[in-house]
């Protein structure tokens, strides 16, 4: 710590250059934060072992629908407390840009499995009493200015009505919010019975099943039991966590995790060049000063450590600022992101630890060659040059 003052003053020797370098580090870590959060959201981080809710999909593709008859068979499997179903509606409001998730559900079953979705009793009752009723999350209601009693037209992209129309009108009967701090409520729920009766095709089919496990039930065993139940049937199933389910949606866009890693790899490689160049210039400019340090008794290793510490400090300042800014932006973008893929942005503990490691490793990597150069300086030659 006694060298901190020296190190601190050294890095601010060229304020503009150091500020720009820190800015480049900041941008790199900002991208790290956001891309990691997006990658995490899209790749599904939850393990099956820790899951309390499972999702049962068609084994071949989530585009394929499952028979409604599966519900009672799943409900009979030991460890299953509740089961319900949902289906991707894929509509938009007024403009194709206004896309968000809409699901036809059985209200009582669905809200029993998702107790974090909360709405007043009278609104729930209204939903149950109105076949064309719908409830929407507070995020959506705020975004589009909807209130209870509004009639909202949703343009379908998949599900044509029996009358050939693609416009489905719903009465907003309630506005719910989620009590899960990591959850999102930018969705619309409407009644499956109305949907099933009014749609032109696909009667008796659902998109996927959601399974609520008994306390103490082994998720892996239940998952296997469900898939075994439908093995060798025309519609085999694959049971996974909710996060893996979200990931399967995202994977339709491509291998998100690989794309994220490639972008971050390029960003950090560039960062190493920028910071390494800053450190190399900094050492070249003060050959004489480094020689003075050695002259008054600083050991070669101490000089090496000081230059390395400067590099790590620059990386730490930029990294910390980038992470903080990234976290702030992440909070702002989380709800908007959730409205698109159904899950919010979240940076895992591993990603934070990873960021700390990158700061240290990148700082060392950027500083090592200039530091070695400083360490190996001949005092006599350096004094003559400096």
């Amino acid at each position: 710590m006694k060298y901190f003052g020296l190190i601190w003053h050294n890095i601010w020797r060229k304020k503009v250059r150091t500020s720009l370098t820190i800015l480049s580090v900041l941008v790199a870590f900002l991208m790290y934060t956001l891309l990691n959060a997006v990658g995490h959201a899209m790749s599904g981080g939850g393990s099956l072992e820790s899951a309390r809710r499972l999702v049962v999909l068609d084994k071949i593709s989530l585009v394929n629908l499952l028979p409604i008859s599966y519900q009672s068979k799943i409900a009979a499997i030991p460890g299953v407390r509740n089961v319900t179903h949902s289906t991707w509606f894929g509509g938009y409001y007024q403009d194709p840009k206004n896309q968000f998730a809409q699901f036809p559900v059985v209200p009582e079953e669905y809200l029993k499995i998702y107790p974090e979705f909360v709405l007043p009793d009278e609104q729930m009752q209204g939903f149950l009493n109105n076949r064309t009723g719908a409830i929407v999350g507070s995020t959506l209601a705020d975004k589009y200015g909807w209130k209870v009693g509004d009639r909202v037209p949703i343009q379908a992209t998949i599900w044509t009505r029996k009358d050939g129309g693609r416009t489905w009108e719903f009465d907003i009967e309630g506005i719910f919010h989620t009590t899960d701090p990591k959850g999102q409520d930018a969705i619309m729920l409407f009644r499956y019975d109305y949907f099933d009766e009014a749609r032109q095709f696909g009667q008796g089919l659902v998109g996927w099943y959601i399974v609520d496990l008994d306390d103490g039930a082994d998720p892996v065993a239940v998952s296997n039991a469900i898939d075994n139940e439908f093995a060798n049937s025309p519609r085999e199933t694959e049971t996974s966590t909710e996060q893996a389910f979200a990931a399967s949606f995202a994977e339709q866009l491509g291998n998100i995790a690989l794309i994220v890693q490639l972008i971050l790899g390029a960003v950090f490689f560039t960062l190493l060049l920028v910071t390494g160049n800053t450190m190399a210039q900094s050492v070249r400019e003060r050959i004489g000063e480094l020689a003075v340090l050695k002259t008054v008794g600083f050991r070669d290793g101490t000089v090496l450590g000081i230059v390395m510490a400067e590099s790590v400090l620059i990386m730490s300042i930029g990294g910390a600022l980038g992470l903080i800014l990234g976290w702030i932006l992440m909070q702002g973008l989380s709800k908007a992101f959730a409205a698109i893929i159904g899950t919010g942005l979240f940076l895992s503990a591993g990603a934070w630890i990873g960021a700390a490691l990158i700061v240290v490793v990148a700082g060392i990597a950027a500083g090592i060659f200039p530091a070695l150069h400083a360490m190996r300086l001949s005092i006599v030659d350096a004094l003559a040059r400096g």
């Binding site: 003053h9 000063e289 002259t295 008794g297």
Partner: protein, 229 residues
């Protein structure tokens, strides 16, 4: 004069410049008693600075032995030499060589970072050193806010803050006007006479050399003559 503080015996220093072999010092013998104030003069390239570097453990002889305060320098490792310099030697350079990013106070504290003193103790000792050179009121100024003479005073304060036995000064007045040069030389004289520092000073300046107790002339790597001041 009392015991011998530094001794060079048969010291040669040869540099290889490409295919050319350049002998800067040739079988040089020299004794420097403790408490001496020695000026070394000579033309450029005569080996004055090389001699100073050898005394300070910044360079190693090609042949011969350098002993300072009982320590045989050529046999010491680089780290041992670093430790030894930090406690036994103070350096003063022609162009001051202060760190421009640090205040005068922090520049003077630099050698003390290598000690076990806490920040308070370091600050206290640096303040005393600055007081000795008459710059207490400039402690918070950076080198660019100081005149050349003031910078050299700060450099001298940095050289004495660790209370070394030997001060090595390489052209300490070479970048200063006459009046300021005389002030610096008087300061060095006080450090020698009142604070007991042994001083070896390389200079081109005969008037500066007059402040020393004695002057040696080096030419073509050999000590040419001795003259009492």
């Amino acid at each position: 004069m009392s015991d011998v503080l530094a001794e060079l015996r048969g010291v040669s220093r040869v540099y290889q410049k490409g295919k050319e072999r350049v002998e800067v010092l040739h079988e040089l013998d020299l004794e420097i008693p403790a408490g001496d104030f020695l000026a070394i003069m000579g033309p450029s390239g005569s080996g004055k600075t090389t001699l100073l570097n050898l005394l300070g453990g910044l360079d190693r002889p090609s042949a011969g032995t350098v002993t300072v305060g009982g320590a045989t320098l050529p046999s010491m490792s680089n780290n041992q030499l670093s430790n030894w310099r930090s406690t036994h030697i103070g350096f003063v350079f022609q162009f001051y060589n202060l760190l421009p990013v640090l205040t005068a106070q922090k520049n003077v504290e630099l050698p003390l970072l290598l000690t076990s003193f806490d920040s308070k103790e370091r600050a206290s000792r640096a303040a005393i050193a600055l007081d000795i050179v008459g710059l207490s009121d400039r402690a918070k100024h950076t080198p660019r806010e100081l005149s050349g003479g003031e910078e050299q005073r700060v450099a001298i304060a940095r050289a004495i803050v660790s209370d070394p036995t030997l001060l090595l000064c390489d052209e300490p007045t070479g970048d200063l006007d006459r009046e300021t040069a005389d002030e610096i030389m008087k300061l060095l004289q006080i450090l020698n006479s009142e604070h007991g520092k042994t001083i070896v000073m390389v200079t081109h300046d005969a008037q500066a050399a007059d402040y020393a107790n004695r002057t040696l002339h080096v030419d073509k790597g050999k000590l040419e003559s001795r003259a009492a001041a």
